[in-house]
């Protein structure tokens, strides 16, 4: 049986376990009097969980490790002796053979694939049998163990509670483990990249054109500085020039001036803005803002204005970030005790003086933390720049010139015809890793700043 079918069988077994366990508990109950530490249903759950969890855990692991085991088995067959020893062709043949064996393909490019396909099918069948047998043993062992423990005095209720707690813990670890997995794969691919391209060339090189890579000096065209500059220029400079003032002003208006009724409809409206899919912002940037920016540049006499300018992408990204900044600034301002405001007003300060000189400075750490989080979001933002920024990496301060960003380059490198071993493709992972490290640091700093500030007022 396949892993998927086994999964359903195990679930059905669990259901049966539930009824059997419960029935046994009821039977034992009727033969005795006195207090019971658990209801029959708890015993049912106890048996059901013990019957299903061990085989399910096994199947989950099996799902990941068995393909490699099957492939190893195929390689061990005499037919596989004529496989090319390493490289791209070897894995292509193996994957063709696998597809043939599964009936997912009907012809093969390599003759050897056709030869290997029956071996593949046989190996697959053998391993499926092993899986079925092991799952059945585990299910039965779990069932027997738990069934025998169904006694009137057995605390099935607390036992179930403990298992549920472990399940919840497991669920909360999934996201963390996945992150570790992502980091591990990024690290692995990046390590391969850096075995081809020197780290120094990548981090400090100022020339980026991955289309042509000289195999004798692959680092020459893979200098990431222009990309990081473009990312910084669009996400941390232009976008923030839009998002910080407007976000802050809207927060100030909402917390200090707006009537409750006004606040009640403006705030949700701003939050809706945060829910607009970024791809929508993307074509707004590409189709509306970018041409307008270019026309404007031409109007004021700039001849080399690009229609994929940094300004267009940055402006729209800034608008996208406004609700984010506004919401954090709003929280920080609201956290400043009202006694500060009263104290300042009672000195004869006007409301706007009070805001500028007391409230904003008092809320500043929170606001700064929020802005850092916003920056980290902006530099990781992909859709807007994919659609509106250019693919050409230039090291420029001119907002009307075309610039590219790290995320845009990653997309470009990984789409289209990519050979999965070239420096060009691997560069995407190195870029991703660097971006990941930068945003991680930004987030950590931001959280520390925000936390310090919370402590100051609690």
């Amino acid at each position: 049986m396949s892993v998927g079918a086994l999964f359903f069988v195990v679930i059905v077994l669990g259901l049966i376990g539930w009824f059997v366990g419960r029935a046994r508990a009821i039977a034992l109950r009727s033969s005795r009097t006195g207090r019971f530490s658990a209801l029959p249903g708890h015993h049912g759950w106890f048996v059901a969980l013990w019957t299903t969890l061990p085989p399910l855990l096994f199947l989950a692991i099996w799902f990941f490790v068995s393909p490699a085991m099957v492939t190893d088995a195929v390689i061990a067959t005499p037919q596989a002796a004529s496989l090319p020893p390493t490289g791209f062709e070897r894995s292509a043949i193996l994957s063709e053979a696998r597809n043939l064996a599964r009936g997912e393909a009907f012809g093969a490019f390599h003759d050897l694939s056709e030869v290997l396909a029956p071996a593949y099918a046989a190996a697959q069948r053998r391993f499926d049998w092993i899986a079925t047998a092991l799952a059945a043993i585990l299910a039965f062992a779990g069932f027997a163990f738990s069934y025998l423990r169904v006694r009137p005095q057995f605390g099935a209720r607390t036992a179930v509670e403990r298992i549920v707690m472990l399940l919840l813990l497991g669920a909360s670890l999934i996201a963390i483990l996945t992150t570790f997995g992502i980091v591990a794969s990024l690290l692995f691919e990046s390590a391969r990249f850096f075995s081809i391209v020197p780290l120094i060339d990548f981090l400090f090189g100022t020339h980026w054109s991955p289309q042509v890579i000289d195999p004798r000096d692959p680092g020459a065209n893979l200098g990431a500085v222009p990309l990081f500059w473009g990312t910084f220029f669009i996400g941390a400079v232009i976008a923030m020039l839009v998002a910080i003032p407007f976000g802050l002003m809207s927060a100030i208006y909402l917390t200090q001036y707006a009537k409750l009724s006004t606040r009640r409809w403006i705030k949700p409206l701003l939050e809706v803005l945060a829910g607009v899919p970024t791809v929508v912002y993307g074509y707004f940037a590409a189709l509306t803002v970018a041409p307008a920016v270019r026309d404007f540049a031409v109007m004021i006499g700039i001849r080399w204005a690009s229609s994929e300018s940094a300004l267009a992408a940055g402006l729209v990204m800034g608008v996208m970030i406004i609700p984010f900044v506004s919401s954090i600034a709003d929280d920080s301002l609201a956290a400043v005790p009202s006694s500060m405001r009263d104290g300042s007003l009672a000195m004869g300060a006007t409301p706007s003086e009070t805001i500028r000189k007391v409230l904003v400075p008092a809320a500043l750490p929170g606001i700064v933390g929020g802005v850092l989080l916003a920056v980290s979001r902006a530099i990781g933002e992909t859709m807007i720049v994919v659609m509106a920024a250019s693919g050409v990496a230039t090291l420029t301060l001119n907002p009307f010139a075309s610039t590219t960003t790290v995320t845009k380059q990653i997309v470009d490198l990984l789409t289209g015809e990519a050979e999965f071993d070239s420096a060009k493709t691997l560069a995407a992972f190195a870029l991703g890793l660097t971006l990941f490290v930068i945003t991680l640091l930004l987030n950590i700093v931001a959280l520390i700043v925000v936390k310090r500030y919370r402590e100051a007022y609690d």
Binding site: S339, M340, G343, M347, G348, T350, P361
Partner: protein
Amino acid sequence: MSHKINAHNVNVFYGEKQAIRNVSIDVDQEDVTAFIGPSGCGKSTFLRTLNRMNDTVASARVEGDIRLDGEDIYSKDMDVVQLRARVGMVFQKPNPFPKSIYENVAYGPRIHGLASGKAELDTIVEQSLTRAGLWSEVKDRLSDSGTALSGGQQQRLCIARAIAVDPEVILMDEPCSALDPIATARIEELIHDLRGRYAIVIVTHNMQQAARVSQKTAFFHLGELVEYGDTNDIFTNPREQRTTDYITGRYG
């Protein structure tokens, strides 16, 4: 003798609810005036009408006639910003700004443009801190944060901050309620020293404090002014039964 503040037939409402009923009171320049009364009777509310801090409460509405040196403070021509510079306020909980000690005191003079240069500002800061009895304790750490001081020091800093704009009246709303007895004694001493230079109105829950620091006492109950007169008379020889009950601790 002319009065510094004349309040006549003042009513204050929070929405529909009336918090102050028909209160009339005159505050003298030379005196410290104490407001006493059970919690919720409207002492703070009335105090806040005197510098129009009630304007910051959206639901609050003030009726009646309140004059500062004969000028109607609720008239259209009255500049609230100027009024609050003339009538300073110290709050129940010390509320120094999260700025340096120096900046806390310099805040008022700066926004009102009282100093024409750094030297003059320094003088104002030193003078205000001296008058608030804090100078000797903080003169070497003026750039430390005001919030790093002890509670009692913070409250004296707030008094210095209020003094710095050279007000005519200082309103204090339970300025010692968050302080220990020693810090309280220092503030009382300070009020004693400031008397005469500023008209002072102080709200307090502490009978002994009212008796110690004030010359005039007003007893509020349920939004009404029950009795107002010389502190000595109020505490030794009250005219109203309700006053007697309150100051002897029979209710409150």
